[in-house]
Symmetry: C2
Subunit: 164 residues, 2 copies
Amino acid sequence: MADEALFQFLHSEIIQYVNSAESGESENGRCVSKLESMGFRVGQGLIESRHISVCRFTKDTPRFKDELDVMKFICKDFWTSVFKKQIDNLRTNHQGIYVLQDNKFHQLTQLSAGKQYLEHAPKFLAFTCGLVRGALSNLGVKSIVTAEVSVMPACKFQVMIQKM
Amino acid sequence: MADEALFQFLHSEIIQYVNSAESGESENGRCVSKLESMGFRVGQGLIESRHISVCRFTKDTPRFKDELDVMKFICKDFWTSVFKKQIDNLRTNHQGIYVLQDNKFHQLTQLSAGKQYLEHAPKFLAFTCGLVRGALSNLGVKSIVTAEVSVMPACKFQVMIQKM
């Protein structure tokens, strides 16, 4: 519980600080992109620090048998280690697009549920988009990750696999 | 283990970002002071989110019987919830100065042990100084917190209680 709070507070501080530090015309875009990059590096680091997963993955007998298996790992193990819950729903078109739905996304629960706050949502999702992209990248899967909110605090992350 | 890694990576990202965002002559000082403020707010938040402690503290029968008792809470419960270990040694002059020694401070283990890196240590300690000051502040104890490193990764935090 305390761990969860630590991440939540740190995440808020980062958003606030990056938001205030990035000034200029394209302020919001730069803020979102900075947060995404930070998330990317943290995601990479988290996978690197999970020696077992990585070793298993890189050994002759890979831990993951295919792309879907990697996505399941992200939805279960990875999500739980960061957000203390699993992704609620995973869908795919079997052509490289995956939609991960979290019905109660922690980083959004800080925002009020009103529609008027929807415009701030990208800042609260950017770090996590990067986190997923970074984790996937270190598991050998190149991707583009975006997020959208329809009714807070539910949230959908769309992962588009980039074929090498 | 993953939680610990998450905090470590986030902490590194914050230091790197704040360091690059704060420019100008007093660059280093501003960076350290920003990190300290961020830590302060996170420390406050962590105590606020630990409802039980706070409630017990503010009820008629306080949870902590004196200042030393608050410091013991910081060294044991608080340190463990953030750094997954206790403070190794707590000393006091019984006149409002407390020295908390951590023989293997996580945030420093990222830096190499050489003397040439000692100059970077303040950036790696500022957030934690703020964290302790914020936690103490929300437990009703006003303080000034500084840190020093002699041999990495051992570290001493000095807490000077400010009498109201």
